[in-house]
């Protein structure tokens, strides 16, 4: 395929290529501070935390808040400047080995700014929330230490400028996730879940690493910006490029839990709810999306792989949404919802709607964060119960939680003017405009399903009759201010983010922020810019997405109740067993389409048999050889020792025979 290198193909917008400026001293200081303050928090809390008694969170929460403040300064100074900003600096040369020169450096532009805001704001709010949520846990110092470690790792990931440092941060983030999912490691389920998460990620990370090596082989550099030079890529075979990009995508898919690596995310709900909110909704799982966005110029060179990215993305979206519709655990519904929304982001990336994907990343981060923290508040209220069948009618008892949760649910479903509407509509809109009609269609179906399962969740939890355990019911109470305050704070961006950066439609703030970064990729993909028609195609698309979401919400409300409306649980039951088709679909959805069982069969059952075979070989053959050598030596030694008789004449005979042999050889060889 020909690489389109001319600027005219970009259409009306001039593609200014961003030049990399050197960071000023203040910028360097701020960047390092943003990164190192959480690291210091981790170390201090780790060392001193145990002795701090009831308030180990002082260090870590302060660290994150400071880091968030500094990051905000950096981010806004970049975003609000007139010219698009990009600067960076190298801290030191990490690996100077012959041809492989890897510098440990940082990069800061609008994309980094956006990511940093999401990570630090949601991170800070989660830390504050955890003060209340982890109040009664004896090892909360460990929790806060790990949270700080995670903040450091994630910030490193989004601020690094070379593939290898990103990979190192990738692994660090995975480690933090492992530590936090398995925080209650004395229980079986969290230990297994953390192990599962780590192992699934490890598989994907191998692919990631090979992909990085591929990039290095082609371009000769580990620096991300340098690797965007087109010349080496133009000289490579198209299918080689596809494979390398595919390997990178598999790595990203693992971290962001796309099919078939999605199996670890629902299990990760075994971790404390703040962890689920921070890592598995708002930040870590976005690492894959960020990475693909960051390396968009390179991804754009592999259209076949981009097609796969979009396909897997939208497939994950509909698969996860279908499972979310039947789950009973409140956190599992949210987990599958996260999978589904991540699928949207990957689909957007795959079709070249880069800005839309990042916009959805932001909106989803705040929205899902709010949803998870709200669910944590609900679980806290009903004394640890997570099964929605045992909830209901909670709206009067935990009002703040209820209202913020409702707002977030509406946002996720895509109802204007909340944030989720703007971001989801931009994805659906772009897919239609770029003529990816299949993705548009599936995306629309998923939007309906999203509305349905969110309001099923809301209905079962907050409305209708209370099915709460009678022993627990009198104790249901609103959460402490550290938790509800966080919910309220998160509700603000959920409501206003779209209005602030999603407008004006067609030439939005966020579009202007991020478009220069994706200009090289758009050039390669020859995606033209399209004039926004509110009365016309784009307006129609808005109507479609809102209508579809409302349809889903409506069905859910009809089945599961809303404020005064009662739930029709008998109707629900009747629907699931009406005919073979619905029963089959329900069972399949409830059993997560049996993917976990498939993995168990392949990797565990079959794998253990292979392992048994290998062990047989090891024990019988290899150990046999080794032990056999020992046994033979022993037996030979046993027999040979009879030579030592202790008698001089025997030895003298030996000498005589030796003498004859050697002398004979000498004499008669010389002839």
């Amino acid at each position: 395929m020909d690489l389109v290198l001319s600027a005219e193909a970009a259409g009306g917008h001039a593609s200014e290529s961003l030049t990399l400026a050197a960071a000023t001293d203040e910028q360097r200081l701020l960047l390092l501070a943003v990164l190192l303050v959480p690291m210091a928090g981790f170390l201090l809390t780790g060392v001193l935390g145990r002795r701090m008694g009831h308030r180990p969170w002082i260090i870590s929460v302060s660290a994150v808040v400071i880091s968030a403040a500094l990051a905000t300064i950096l981010a806004f100074s970049a975003l609000l400047s007139e010219e698009p900003v990009r600067y960076g600096f190298t801290l030191y040369t990490w690996i100077p080995v012959g041809e492989l020169q890897v510098d440990f450096g940082f990069l800061f532009d609008n994309l980094t700014a956006v990511m940093v805001i999401v990570v630090t704001w949601i991170g800070a709010l989660v830390h504050i929330y955890s003060i209340g949520y982890m109040e009664h846990d004896a090892s909360k110092w460990r929790f806060f230490a790990y949270l700080n470690l995670f903040m450091f790792s994630m910030l490193l990931l989004v601020m690094a400028d070379s593939y290898l440092v990103v990979f190192a941060a990738w692994e660090l983030v995975g480690l933090s996730s492992y530590l936090l999912i398995g925080f209650w490691y004395t229980k079986r389920a969290p230990a297994l879940a953390s192990k599962k998460a780590f192992l699934v990620n490890r598989v994907a990370d191998h692919s990631f690493l090979v992909g990085i090596m591929g990039v290095f082989l082609i371009t000769g550099t580990m620096n991300m910006l340098d690797s965007f030079e087109l010349t080496p890529w133009a000289q490579t075979e198209w299918w080689v490029i596809d494979i390398v990009i595919l390997l990178l995508f598999v790595g990203a898919a693992g971290k962001s839990a796309q099919f078939p690596f999605h199996v670890w995310l629902p299990d990760a709900m075994e971790g404390p709810t703040p962890v689920s909110a921070l890592i598995h909704a708002a930040t870590m799982v976005n690492a894959g999306v960020y990475f693909i966005a960051r390396t968009s110029p390179v991804f754009a060179l592999a259209p076949e792989t981009m097609l796969l990215v979009a396909s897997i993305g939208i497939f994950t979206a509909i698969l996860a949404a279908s499972i979310a519709m039947t789950q009973r655990d409140i956190k599992k519904v949210l987990a599958y919802s996260t999978l589904s929304q991540l699928g949207y982001m990957f689909a957007a990336l795959g079709i070249g709607a880069w800005v839309a994907a990042i916009f959805h990343l932001m909106a989803h981060g705040f929205t899902k964060g709010l949803l998870f923290l709200g669910s944590g508040s609900v679980i806290h209220a009903v004394d640890g119960e997570q099964d929605m069948d045992k909830m209901g009618g909670l709206r009067k008892k935990i009002p703040i939680t209820h209202w913020t949760f409702l707002i977030a649910a509406l946002s996720l479903a895509g109802i204007p003017p909340l944030a989720g509407f703007f971001s989801k509509d931009s994805i659906l809109g772009e897919s239609f405009i770029f003529n990816d009609y299949l993705i548009f269609l599936i995306g629309v179906i998923v939007a309906a399903m999203t509305g349905f399962y969110m309001f099923r969740l809301v209905g079962k939890t907050f409305y209708g009759e209370s099915h709460v355990d009678p022993a627990v019911e009198p104790k249901v109470h609103e959460s402490p201010p550290s938790m509800t305050g966080t919910l309220l704070l998160l509700a603000i961006p959920t409501i206003f983010l779209g209005l602030i950066i999603g407008l004006p439609l067609g030439d939005s703030v966020i579009f202007n922020w991020l478009e220069p970064i994706f200009a090289p990729a758009n050039e390669i993909m020859a995606l033209g810019h399209h004039a926004y028609e509110l009365i016309g195609v784009d307006g129609g698309l808005i109507l479609v997405s809102v209508a579809v979401a409302s349809l889903g919400i409506g069905i859910a409300i009809w089945l599961f109740g809303f404020f005064g409306l009662r739930a029709r649980l008998d109707k629900v039951r009747e629907l699931t067993v009406r005919n073979r088709l619905t029963r089959g679909l329900y069972t399949a959805s409830f059993n997560k389409w049996w993917f976990d069982d498939l993995n168990h069969l392949i990797f565990y059952r079959f794998g253990t048999r292979v392992a048994d075979g290998v062990m047989w070989f090891d024990v019988k053959v290899i150990d046999g050889i080794v032990n056999g050598v020992g046994a033979v030596t022993q037996r030979v030694g046993d027999d040979v020792r009879h030579i030592q008789t202790g008698r001089v004449q025997n030895y003298a005979l030996g000498i005589a025979i030796g003498l004859i042999v050697i002398a004979g050889l000498f004499i008669f060889m010389a002839r």
Binding site: Q644, G646, V648, Q649, A652, L653, A656
Partner: protein
């Protein structure tokens, strides 16, 4: 034949062989020492024979032979002393019994 060096050397070789056989096959320690004396004498015969058939070296080889004789005497002294000492301990002159360093 008496004027040929080879005859004396062959004689020496035969005597040496007899001594070797005695050393390897006899059980009595003193018999072994007697066999050693036979071997030493065979070697001495060879030395003297070499010396006798060479004008320049006759005196030197004879000197060597004298040394050999003297050394054989010294060696026999010490060797027999050892045998007597061991005999006092073990009450037998048979070397088969002197096998306490066996494995």
């Amino acid at each position: 034949m008496s004027q040929s060096l080879e005859a004396y050397l062959v004689l020496s070789a035969l005597l040496f062989g007899i001594g070797t056989f005695g050393f390897l096959a006899k059980r009595n320690a003193i018999a072994m020492l007697m066999s050693i004396e036979l071997m030493l004498n065979a070697v001495n015969l060879a030395i003297i024979a070499f010396g006798a058939f060479s004008a320049e070296l006759a005196a030197q080889f004879s000197t060597i032979a004298i040394f050999v004789i003297a050394l054989a005497a010294g060696e026999a002294t010490v060797g027999l002393g050892i045998v007597i000492a061991i005999f006092r301990n073990r009450r037998t002159p048979l070397v088969d019994e002197y096998a306490s360093m066996k494995e």
